[in-house]
Symmetry: C2
Subunit: 343 residues, 2 copies
DNA sequence: CTTAGCACTCAATAAGATAGAGTGCTAACA
DNA sequence: TGTTAGCACTCTATCTTATTGAGTGCTAAG
């Protein structure tokens, strides 16, 4: 177990390093106001903390920097709650200032402002549409061969996709079909749509519509792919400002990982509720070695629908970022709930 | 006027520099197979070419590099037509391999493949929707206060937006209104929609609908903002690979300019038909000083609808990129025309 | 247990030294 | 008169070497 003094020193070192990005030496630490013991004492404690794995040296005679284990301990036990600046809070609240109806816009604005506030990179995993329920299906013919299928979900999300229609088909038939489909499929989650069409509605349709099979096939296939949740980014290049990334190779690997959206999906997709901090290699991706990721989930009502995350260097302002994310995720949840749950 | 030999040397220098990114010296040039005169002669010619402004030195005793004026002359007069590799052509054609209906997907895929092919950054300005004509307007109520307006254009583009409805309004009334609007507004360009609603349809509506004024106001406002054309990017970080950007500051300015989409709009928006090359400062943006931009327009039918561009260092493979862009813009035009002009 | 003192280490910076690629100019040559 | 060999000169890049300063570990005294 760590002594109080060790905890105090560990915290002081990490705080200092987060601020300065420079290895912390015993002498400079001892000069701080609230430290009563000498640099030699600090050196001894540092040696112990290093042996325990909380600190590291960059070379034999350098000051100490936190190890991943050090950060982990710091985040779990030493984090002093951060009092957000009024300006910060105001900026966050400004996301919801104008009456916005589009979820995408809110999310995008959140990402932008959060990245400005932190100088880190913001990543938002938008709500998946797969679980949304169908509110209305609409088909608009464009010409004799193609039509557009439009899906409106209960959350107000609109998906659309072109598909080809058998040339023999009559416009009235399409209308008939749309009516039947709407009657039968309202409230069905999108992910079950095509399945439901085949199993329940196809039979019914076959009675009313002539060349229904080809049409239904096309349509079902069209409805089947409302794709993955969407990712939104803010401050993609903010990491360039961080002193730990003044190395070209590091930047290259990091930026190309950010552009590799699949990796980002992995990082953000399995998210239990609440705020979570993943430090360095805990992220299981080599390009994230010097980065930490703080994630927070947001919901509509009780249902968790997305994740908002900050990607920064391991030397990150954990306390402040956590406060910001906590506030924003709550605001986001209540705004979205207010907007969509009245239905 | 330049002599034949000067032209030959200028071309050789630029070709060499584009390949190697190293200043070209007289001695290394003279060693080339197809050069019959000595390095001293080349030195003399180089001095002349420098005096004329086509070449530059990086320092007093360095080899020569092309000046912007040199590149300009090279692009205008010395470009040898580039024979595309079969593999390149195949890759380009693969964009249209699967039957895709969504314009966005085609455009995105184009950007991706083009950036892979060139190792530069691709920027595509998608078709603007302002000129598209209304095919169908649809309104789907979500709850008592909000509804979604959906616009389908003649090109199959779908826009949607939430708006609030006066709580007193009846569902039937909305349906009535939608019918009237569709009857009156079909074929009207989106940019004229709200105007037309106020001037022609409002009177008509007032006869049939109770609390029409507030509703129409909301709706017209909603339809009014189908925003700017969309930008698509491919290989945003490809420039990191280019040797001229091994400098952190240059990368920072360049990448943040790319993320500043408004600058990109400026660069791509006023585009006469055909392929155009803008070299370095010709782009009028300081961050573009070491970059060239090659743009090509693409059309649906006769109507030019978008721009596809490659952003690379001034030391760019002009000939190859122009060939690639030329091929792609034509393919894109014919694919889109085939897809949308049958209406 | 704490601390002053000292020898030692390492990174960062600056200062020479050297090699190499390249130029400009001059004079000889065809 | 145009071309070329030769030479002195310039500048960059790279390698060495020296110096400084921040920092450590260890020892011995308080």
């Amino acid at each position: 177990m760590l002594t109080d003094r060790q905890l105090f020193i560990l915290q002081a070192i990490i705080d200092d390093f987060i601020r300065s990005a420079q290895p912390v030496g015993s002498r400079s630490l001892s000069k701080k106001e609230d430290i009563t013991f000498s640099s030699a004492t600090i050196r001894n404690e540092m040696a112990d903390l290093e042996e325990l794995g909380f600190l590291e040296k960059t070379h034999t005679s350098s000051g100490r920097i936190p190890s991943e284990k050090g950060y982990r301990y710091y985040v779990d036990h030493l984090l002093s709650p951060h009092q957000l600046k009024i300006k910060d809070v105001e900026l966050l609240k400004s996301i919801f200032a104008e009456k916005i109806y589009e979820l995408e816009k809110i999310v995008q604005k959140s990402a932008k402002i959060l990245s400005e506030l932190t100088s880190y990179t913001t990543i938002v995993l938008g709500p998946g549409v797969q679980e949304n329920k169908l509110r209305r299906l609409q088909i608009v013919p464009l010409n004799k061969e193609t039509a557009i299928a439009i899906i409106v979900t209960d959350t107000g999300h609109v998906e659309n996709k072109m598909f080809s229609i058998p040339p023999s088909l009559d416009v009235n038939e399409i209308e008939k079909m749309v009516n039947i489909l709407n009657e039968r499929l309202q409230g069905v989650p999108l992910m079950e749509l095509s399945d439901k069409i085949y199993r329940e509605v196809a039979v019914l349709l076959s009675r009313h519509i002539k060349s229904y099979d080809k049409l239904v096939q096309n349509l079902a296939h069209t409805l089947d792919v409302p794709g993955h949740e969407k990712l939104f980014f803010g401050g993609k290049t903010n990491m360039l400002q961080q002193p730990e990334f003044n190395d070209l190779d590091k930047i290259k690997t990091l930026l190309s990982m950010i552009d590799q959206e699949q990796d980002m999906y992995k990082l953000l997709s399995k998210n239990p509720a609440g705020i979570h901090v993943k430090i360095g290699r805990e992220n299981k991706i080599s390009a994230m070695e010097n980065c930490s990721l703080i994630t927070a989930s947001y919901s509509i009502g009780k249902e968790q629908v997305g994740t908002i995350a900050i990607l920064g260097p391991t030397r990150m302002q954990y306390s402040r970022v956590i406060s910001l994310l906590d506030l924003l995720s709550h605001d986001l949840t209540s705004a979205l709930t207010r907007l969509y749950q009245k239905a």
